[in-house]
């Protein structure tokens, strides 16, 4: 009898606590006891940029007493995606997600987001001074889906001290592929065993660089105008622009003046900081870290992405943007919009730029004194900005929009490895890769095309 009583009691308490928990949850859904709306931001910014973003969140929370943003670092962008799938619709789901550029098509197709256009229209939000090249990336069918936050493009980094050592003018960085070749040969230093102690030039095996060089030469990555006129159905990067770039790369690696430090961009950065490569290509977002890291050892120079002869030039905007999630109640979505607007403010963008190297998404940020002072001190930071402004907007430089972009990028990376390791010819390798990506696009479209 005692036992029955006990278990009955136990069941009752359990039930009661569950009900209570349920109650408090539904109340918490919009505001907590002080009338503050709490929202969660998921992002993929680690290291320096992570600290920069946390500072922005802190500044927002300090200046808004009715909204509290909790920022959560979720690892890489891919990890972030995966975690979202399991969290969608639950209490822990974010109201804002910072997602990389190439996730755009996928985010739209997931139907889990509210286009920010809705809030722009409702608020009559003035976007006249936003960089058109950046906005264009996140606009589809005249609709802005997410608000750009961290924008970057690739630049050439070089070791000015090594330039002087090799008898090169550190104020005249190479502009063309031929010049890179010539400079790199001079900068390569061989040890007693004949193995390079310092390479002249290096590139991480990163699909983004391939995409940039396709655009730089005016080549398309996917059909139907890079998937912007209509949904892409085919990958088309196996044309001359692709093979030409890989041929140039392979030639350098084979001749020993270009280093191969693998896929991780961090490893090539480490090689540059350790003096094992005199030049390399990477996103402008790592500039601050490199400049700080090389402080006492050598001077870091930056230049626009070297072009091949006759190329139109220009780059695709890389980086990420902020998305507002659909499963959140209206009040939280509005709070999320407030935060996103704060992030886009000229002052925030100026601070962000100086903390990382990502460039401001709007021109008004250049009027902020903090940014003016900073860029005077570190002129290297202007390279990416002028490169952005010099880019002519075309289908190629708008960047491709395909749902399977992360997979496509990884496939291209394998193709580059196959070429550099001599397993396949450039043409064969890119043909195989584009066929694979076309298959993946086909499967994707079968699921999402309306």
């Amino acid at each position: 009898m005692k036992k029955v009583l006990l278990s009955g009691l136990l069941a009752l308490t359990l039930g009661a606590t569950t009900v209570l928990a349920g109650c408090s949850n539904s109340e918490e859904a919009t505001t907590n006891e002080n009338g503050v709306i709490e929202i969660t931001l998921w992002h993929a910014m680690g290291g320096g940029p992570g600290k920069g973003l946390d500072a922005i969140v802190q500044a927002f929370n300090d200046s808004h007493d009715k909204i509290k943003v909790n920022s959560v670092y979720q690892g890489s962008y891919d990890d972030e995606f995966n975690k979202y799938k399991t969290a969608e619709g639950s209490d822990t789901a974010p109201a804002i997600m910072q997602v990389y550029d190439i996730g755009t098509r996928f985010m739209i197709d997931s139907e889990a987001t509210v286009p920010v256009q809705k809030f722009v229209d409702a608020d009559k939000y003035d976007m006249s001074d936003f960089e058109p090249n950046i906005l264009n990336y996140y606009k589809m069918d005249g609709q802005l889906y997410s608000l750009p936050f961290n924008s970057s493009n690739p630049i050439l980094y070089f070791n000015k001290t090594a330039f002087q050592e090799a008898g090169l003018d550190p104020n005249k960085p190479p502009k063309t592929w031929a010049e890179v070749e010539e400079y790199a040969q001079k900068l390569t230093k061989k040890g007693a065993d004949g193995k390079p102690e310092r390479y002249g030039m290096s590139m991480a095996i990163y699909g983004w660089f391939f995409e940039q060089y396709m655009a730089n030469q005016g080549g398309l990555y996917a059909n139907n105008g890079n998937g912007r006129k209509e949904r892409a159905t085919e990958a088309v990067f196996n044309k001359t622009e692709g093979t030409k770039f890989l041929d140039w790369w392979k030639k350098g690696v084979d001749a020993g003046y270009m280093g191969n430090f693998g896929r991780k961009t961090a490893d090539t950065q480490a090689a540059f900081s350790a003096g094992k490569t005199a030049m390399f290509i990477d996103s402008t977002a790592v500039l601050r870290g490199l400049v700080d890291g090389a402080k006492d050892k050598f001077e870091v120079g930056t230049a626009e992405l070297p072009k091949t002869e006759g190329a139109a030039g220009g780059v695709i905007i890389g980086g990420g943007s902020m998305w507002i999630m659909k499963d959140q109640p209206d009040a939280k979505q509005k709070a999320a919009w407030e935060f996103i607007k704060f992030v886009a403010e000229p002052k925030t963008q100026a601070t962000w730029h100086t903390a990382t190297g990502y460039f401001p998404i709007r021109t008004k940020a250049y009027e902020v004194q903090e940014l003016k002072d900073f860029d005077a001190k570190y002129p290297q930071f202007q390279t990416a900005v002028s490169q952005l402004h010099n880019t002519k907007l075309t289908e190629a430089t708008s960047g491709a929009v395909i749902g399977v972009f992360p997979e496509a990028r990884a496939t291209v990376e394998t193709a580059i490895e196959d070429v550099l390791l001599g397993k396949k010819t450039t043409q064969q390798s890119l043909d195989d890769a584009s066929k694979k990506v076309t298959d993946a696009i086909g499967k994707y479209n079968q699921l999402y095309k309306k």
């Binding site: 480490a270 499967k443 699921l447």
Partner: protein, 311 residues
Amino acid sequence: MKAVVQPTETVTRMRPKARWRKRIQELLTATPFLVPSLFLFVLFFFYPLGKTIYLSFYLTNAKGVAKHYVGGSQYGELFTSADFLNSLWTTVVFVFLTVVPGILLALLLALLVEKPLRGMAFFRTLIVSPVTVSVATASTIGLLLFNPSISILTHGLSFFGVQDIAWLTDPFWAMIAVSLVTIWLGVGFHTILLLGGLQAIPTELLESATIDGAGYGKRLRHVVLPLLSPTLFFVLVVSVIGAFQSFGQINILTQGGPSRSTHVLVYSIYRDAFFNFQFGSASAQAIVLFVILLLLTILQFTVVERKVHYQ
């Protein structure tokens, strides 16, 4: 094996009717004892297995929801895909490179620290210590050791005249690097098992062999190894399955590269499911892996086990 066979032998000697009654009775007694484990099995094994088989016939969306029935075509695609066949081959190479040297090393270490010498406990602890290291930690240490520009390992080797090894950027060395980390991770556990096996060998047998004039080599070959064979067999089965399922070290060290040279089956499943969001194709690969492991385990229990000497 024998313990299981005996009751059936007694059952067959009875009359058919009584036999059935006895069986049902046994089953009724056994059921309540089996329910908890059956429940767990169904929940964590049979249900996921069924779901995986189901998904392998569909194209799924990014949330893993089956959307589009495609029949067995994903299995067909697998066996015509050069990438998948490469993954299979890579897995075989990886298993071979980790299991054989791994067991030999563990055996060697176990034999070394088995002797009851003064201070041996210290060395035992030292050798067994990798047991406490997680895959992620070991791989991160590996990343530093194998770093292309600031590698301690390469620096250390340079004193022996070894030239720069492109640990993670050369297909051959990438496989070696991943295998080294895997062996290191497993060696502690395998040594514990083998050490236990060694200490269970009755000393009388070794002593009488010594009196008969057998040297260390003869004792090892004719006494120690046969008596250790049940443990060795267990270590073999466990490490083969473990090697097939290795994932963390590959994900952290090489991401299957360069040029898919370390793209083992489990990593391929992970990429398809959680990176390419093709749960259907990933499920088909998981079923293939399951069948391979099943066949291998059956093979080990039928062929290899015959060589095992149980006391």
